[in-house]
C-alpha cells in the first residue's frame, strides 16, 4: 500500500468545476484585484473570525507587509522561534530588521520563558509561529510584549481554522499572516497569502501598499509594491471554501486516531503536549519517535511517505551563520529536530491507509 504525503491528485481529481470558474473569470477579463478577490477576502475574514482580510502574494509577504507598515526596519530586532520554516526568518530579514531566535517548548512552539532574555533595547517585535498548526501560549507572549512595549506579529501560515480559547488568530498581534500554498489546509493552485487584522487603518494601508499605493488610477498615496493575491487563485479559493470545514475536521479526526494509537507504544512514539484550548488544525502531524531515522526509512520503504519538518532548526541553517548561534544554543529545538517525524495525516487518507500507517509504525518497534 502507498500512503502519499500529498493529496493534490485526490483533492482535484474532479477539476472541471474549478476550470469552469476560471473560464468565467478569463471571459470577464477581471484579472487584477476584482470581484473574485473581494468575495474571497470577505469569506476568508468570516471564516477565520477577523474583521479585515487582505489577499497578498504569498504567506511570506503576509508577514513582511504588516511589519514594514508598522515601521519595522533596519536597526530593529525581531524575536522569533528557531523551530519554524525559513519563511518566518526570511520575512524578518526582508524588512531589514535582525532576526533574534529563541528556543521552542514541548509543543514545538516558541518558549515564552526564553523570550525575555533575548530582548534588547533594539527589540521591536515578536513573531509567533503556529508551526504545524499548533498554537503558542499567546497569553504568555502577550504579557511579555506588553511589559516591554513590543509589537506581536503572528505567523499563522500553517493554521487556517486554528483557534485558541475560542479566539481567532490575529487576536494578539497587530496582524496575522496566512498562507494559501498548495499544501496548506486551504490551498490554491500557486503561492498566495492573506493578512488579517483588527486595525482599520493598517488594513487600509495594506490594501494601498499591495497595489502600488494607488488611491485612484492617477495618484498614489504611498510608494507601494505590487503584491496582490492573484485573482485566478481567488477564484479557486472561493470554490474551496465549501471544503474547509471538512478539511479541518477530518485532519483533527485523523490526528486523534494516531494520538490514540501511540498510547500503546508510548515509550517509542510520543505526540507533543496537546494544550487544552488549542484548536490544532494539523497542517503537519508531528510526533517524537525513537530511532527516528530508522523509522523514517522503514516507513518510506513500506510506501508511507513520512517526512521531517525539518531536520535543522533555523539557527543551524547555513543562512544563519551571520547570526552566529553556536550548536547547543537552543537545546530543545536541536533535540526535537533529531526526534521529530511527520506522518501523512491529510483529509483524503482512507481509514485503511491510516490503519496501515499505525500498523507499520508498531511493526517497526516490534509491537503488534
Amino acid at each position: 500500500m502507498k500512503v502519499p504525503f500529498s493529496y493534490l491528485d485526490r483533492q482535484f481529481k474532479d477539476v472541471d468545476a474549478y476550470l469552469k470558474d476560471v473560464r468565467e473569470l478569463v471571459l470577464s477579463g477581471d484579472f487584477t484585484l476584482g470581484k473574485p478577490l473581494t468575495e474571497f477576502e470577505g469569506k476568508f475574514a468570516k471564516k477565520v473570525g477577523m474583521p479585515h482580510a487582505i489577499g497578498v502574494g504569498t504567506g511570506t509577504d503576509a508577514l513582511i507587509m504588516p511589519m514594514k507598515l508598522c515601521d519595522i526596519g533596519p536597526g530593529d530586532e525581531v524575536i522569533t522561534t528557531t523551530m519554524t520554516f525559513y519563511a518566518t526568518v526570511g520575512a524578518i530579514v526582508a524588512t531589514g530588521a535582525r532576526p533574534v531566535l529563541v528556543d521552542s517548548e514541548d509543543g514545538f512552539m516558541i518558549d515564552p520563558s526564553k523570550i525575555e532574555e533575548a530582548i534588547t533595547p533594539k527589540t521591536k517585535a515578536i513573531v509567533t509561529v503556529t508551526f504545524s498548526g499548533n498554537i503558542p501560549d499567546m497569553e504568555a507572549v502577550a504579557k511579555i510584549a506588553k511589559k516591554h512595549n513590543l509589537m506581536i506579529f503572528e505567523d499563522t501560515c500553517q493554521s487556517i481554522g486554528g483557534l485558541l480559547d475560542g479566539k481567532p488568530m490575529g487576536s494578539w498581534g497587530r496582524a496575522a499572516g496566512y498562507s494559501l500554498h498548495p499544501l496548506k489546509n486551504l490551498n490554491v493552485w500557486a503561492d498566495g497569502g492573506v493578512v488579517v487584522t483588527r486595525e482599520d487603518e493598517l488594513a487600509r494601508k495594506l490594501r494601498l501598499y499591495r497595489n502600488h499605493g494607488l488611491i485612484s488610477r492617477d495618484e498614489i498615496e504611498i510608494f507601494g509594491i505590487n503584491c496582490r493575491l492573484d485573482t485566478i487563485q481567488a477564484v479557486i479559493g472561493n470554490r474551496l471554501f465549501g471544503e474547509v470545514d471538512f478539511i479541518t475536521n477530518r485532519r483533527i479526526e485523523v490526528a486523534g486516531r494516531y494520538d490514540q494509537a501511540w498510547k500503546e507504544i508510548a515509550d517509542c512514539v510520543a505526540p507533543p503536549v496537546r494544550r487544552p484550548g488549542v484548536r490544532h488544525v494539523y497542517h503537519l502531524y508531528m510526533v517524537r519517535a525513537k530511532k527516528r531515522d530508522e523509522l523514517l526509512r522503514f516507513l518510506n520503504e513500506n510506501g508511507i511517505e513520512a517526512k521531517i519538518h525539518y531536520p535543522r532548526p533555523m539557527h543551524l541553517q547555513p543562512a544563519a551563520k551571520v547570526l552566529d548561534y553556536p550548536l547547543g544554543r537552543f537545546p530543545k529545538a536541536e533535540q526535537d529536530c533529531r526526534e521529530i517525524i511527520t506522518l501523512p495525516a491529510h483529509q483524503h487518507l482512507t481509514d485503511e491507509e491510516i490503519e496501515f500507517t499505525i500498523r507499520t509504525v508498531k511493526k517497526f518497534y516490534g509491537k503488534n
Partner: protein
C-alpha cells in the same frame, strides 16, 4: 520576468525567489518567496507562440497611424530611431488641446487613456520628498499633452484609419 546575461546573478535570483533554499532541508540565505505561478507559466507557454504575431500587429498599427496622421497639425507621433525596434506596448502621441481631443474621440466611441496625467514628483508622495512644480519642466509639460491611442493587436486597420480620420477632423 527577470532577464540577464549574468549567470551568477541569475543563479542568485533563482535561489532568492524561493526562500533561499537550494534543497528541501537547507536555507543558505534567508529570503522572500516570489515565484511566477506555474498556472500562469502554463498559460504563458501557450501565449508565447502568439507573441511574434502580437508584436507584428502592434507595429503594423503604429505604421498605419504614422502614415494616416503624417502632416496632421497639432500632434507629434512616436518615431522609431533606426536602431530601435519598438513593440508599442503603448502608442503615446504628444498633442495640443489634449483634453478636448480626448473628449472628441470619446464622443465618437474611441477610448483613450493617459499614461500618466501627474508626474510622480507632483503627487503628494513626491512633494513630501521635497519636489516642487517647475523642477522637471519637460515631464510637467508633457503630462498635459500626452494621449495613448488604441494600439492593441485586435484592432483592425480600418479602425486605425477611422481613429486617424477623427483626429485629423478635430485639428482641421
Amino acid at each position: 520576468m527577470l532577464i540577464t546575461n549574468d549567470l551568477a546573478l541569475a543563479d542568485r535570483v533563482r535561489l532568492l525567489r524561493n526562500h533561499g533554499h537550494p534543497n528541501r532541508d537547507d536555507c543558505v540565505e534567508f529570503s522572500i518567496v516570489s515565484r511566477l505561478d506555474s498556472v500562469q507559466a502554463a498559460m504563458l507557454r501557450v501565449k508565447l507562440r502568439y507573441l511574434p504575431e502580437v508584436t507584428r500587429r502592434r507595429r503594423e498599427n503604429a505604421d498605419c497611424y504614422r502614415e494616416a496622421l503624417a502632416g496632421c497639425p497639432g500632434i507629434r507621433l512616436p518615431q522609431e530611431r533606426a536602431e530601435e525596434f519598438s513593440v508599442y506596448h503603448t502608442f503615446i502621441i504628444d498633442c495640443e488641446r489634449r483634453d478636448e481631443l480626448r473628449s472628441h474621440l470619446d464622443k465618437k466611441g474611441i477610448g483613450t487613456v493617459i499614461h500618466y496625467p501627474i508626474p510622480i514628483h507632483l503627487m503628494q508622495v513626491g512633494r513630501k520628498l521635497g519636489f516642487k512644480p517647475g523642477m522637471f519642466p519637460v515631464a510637467e509639460r508633457l503630462a498635459g499633452r500626452i494621449l495613448s491611442l488604441p494600439i492593441y493587436p485586435q484592432i483592425t486597420k480600418d479602425q486605425v484609419l477611422t481613429i486617424s480620420k477623427e483626429i485629423l477632423a478635430f485639428y482641421s
